[in-house]
Symmetry: C2
Subunit: 341 residues, 2 copies
DNA sequence: ATACTGATTGCAAGCGTTTGCAAAAAAGAT
DNA sequence: ATCTTTTTTGCAAACGCTTGCAATCAGTAT
């Protein structure tokens, strides 16, 4: 089909190292994969030779032979969203500390066939998978059936059989709402996320709880459902701004929808925070870039990524470990988008 | 070391498919990797069985045996930067069209040992590499020496031996500068990027050329060197704002530094665009989010990613192809950050 | 010394695919 | 029918690495 494919420079293999140091290649393999019963002297010689020859393990061969590939997969909806970027950064940093590589998968390519997709990923060479995808339909069943190590980031699992990293959504929403209340606001609009998503529900609950604790009646009209994207925030805000007594503050369930809301508010000729105060959720990098700088509830996104990696590796090492759930604290970051009533 | 690793559910292999359809596994392999001389009937049966059994190719085995892994690597400095995100999005989209997977590598993990790092990547299982890293010290030599397929995105290569995708930096800078001149500005500050970077130099040249063509003397004092990051933009702008007759406009060599400049300008109590007009470069997503919305030179980042993938695959298919360079057009996007003098 | 013990090391068998080579089939030509 | 060609297919040998099992050593207790 092709004439003499310029055979990739034959790479340095364990056999080369073995020849070089005079031990068998099995010993080399053992040194390289950290087996304990190897004479210290041998180990040193092997390591030195590997270094000198510029040896690079062939992940393919390694995983074929039954070892760990030291590659983990990250499944995300897309990269076009500061949120994911931050999580990914944390993941990447942690991974590099432990010398693992990362395969990046985005779901956009398989809308509707996510489950098949998860299946493929699990059957390729990754040792485990981190899922930052909302609406995880039936991914989980396949993964669980195969006993494949995975961690969910900021995603609830109905079955409670998954490793999960998330943040205190309820508390964050409560704090944000209470902050607005203490500023004198009582007509506080809420732009929610999709109600199928656990974190969206938790934030709604936190909002309700804060209202209740401050004796403010919950008004369903003040809740507009969005989907966490900027344009839905824009739409939701528009509907909120049509309300009779205008709300004096809006709590958006994430920063992106807060940005959308800001657009809508300005478009109506109102100003922030003079006419309407606004609070977001997430604290993605852009939050401090917009004008006015957005007051928001910070999720430690990068740390969530780091923790996810730790949990995943733990699970890989230790397949029988029961699933855990780690919830990190959120924190209200006060900037310039709110004003006392 | 571990007691009976719950052996990953044995995956479906070509042998299973062979058994199922009654042909030899070599034939299955040929069908699956698109070999042409297979009877149509056989091909169908194999494909059907593969589908039915839920076959997923084992990339490791495939690449070991000398085939293509259908995985390409993407090396970037980090994800914390809208610019990279856009490029990555384009790459990802194109890759999914052709059914390739992506390994993501960030350089932060190996500052100073980038060359060794590139070596590892090239020797692992990727079929090729896309580099979006600035300052590519000696990556290239190793890659070239190994004859490993790669593409540079928005990066010049002194040796002219590389596949490159970039944009019309010079023209973009020229257009931006001319736009400001036509608005009546003549003291136009420039926040440059690091002069080691080709695109930074080209933008500077475009700026100079526009001035020259409009008979405005080039004043070195109006040029402040930055490094494409927001904070350097802030610093650079500060120094520009110390100048005697204040510049009335600033052209920042990328959006991030434009944002930094905006911060600095506001901090000095000046307003944009009333007191100072500002133009950026890149048109990352945040550009239309900041207030006022940033007028900037758009680079078709996602398209650059897509083109990079195409070039890379082409190079992989076709190792003897001489390196090409594709330059995409930039375009001035006028928003709200500039005003006539 | 001699047998015994546990630490080290080597051998060989696989892991799932690709592919060169040769055999088997099918299709043409005579 | 028979001999050629041209398609299709099957066999077997890699590819680089891990690991169970058996052999070799070195150290200890007898």
């Amino acid at each position: 089909m092709n004439g003499t494919p310029p055979r990739k420079n034959r790479q340095v293999t364990i056999v080369d190292i073995a020849r070089e140091t005079g031990v068998s290649y099995s010993t080399v393999s053992r040194v390289l994969s950290g087996f304990e019963f190897v004479k210290e002297d041998t180990r040193q010689r092997v390591l030195e030779a590997a270094q000198r020859l510029g040896y690079v393990a062939n992940i393919g061969a390694r995983s074929l032979a039954g070892g760990k590939s030291h590659v983990i997969g990250l499944l995300v909806p897309g990269l076009d969203n500061g949120y994911i970027g931050e999580v990914a950064r944390g993941i990447d940093e942690e991974l590099s500390r432990v010398n693992y590589d990362l395969m990046l998968y985005t779901t956009h390519r398989q809308r509707g066939k996510e489950s098949t997709y998860a299946h493929s990923i699990a059957n390729s060479l990754t040792d485990g998978l981190i899922l930052v995808v909302p609406l995880l339909t039936d991914y989980l069943q396949r993964l669980q059936a195969q006993n494949f190590p995975y961690v969910l980031v900021d995603q609830g699992d109905p079955t409670n059989q998954s490793n999960i990293v998330d943040a205190t959504n309820w508390q964050g929403a409560y704090a944000a709402t209470e902050y607005l209340i203490n500023l004198g606001h009582s007509r506080i609009g809420l732009i929610s996320g999709l109600m199928q998503i656990a974190s969206a529900r938790e934030r709604l609950e936190g909002y309700k709880a804060a209202l209740a604790d401050h004796k403010i009646a919950f008004d369903p009209d003040l809740v507009a459902e969005g989907d966490f994207w900027q344009s839905s925030g824009y739409q939701a805000a528009l509907s909120l701004l049509d309300l009779k007594p205008l709300p004096t503050a809006i709590f958006a369930s994430n920063d992106l929808s807060a940005f959308g809301a800001m657009d809508a508010i300005r478009e109506r000729g109102l100003s922030i925070p003079e006419d309407i105060s606004i609070v977001g959720f997430d604290d993605i990098p852009q939050a401090s870039l917009v004008h006015p700088k957005l007051t928001t509830v910070r999720q430690p996104l990068d740390q969530m990524g780091r923790v996810a990696v730790q949990m995943l590796l733990d699970q890989i090492e230790n397949p029988s470990h029961p699933p855990r759930r780690i919830t990190l604290a959120t924190q209200l970051i006060v900037r310039d988008s709110c004003k006392p009533r």
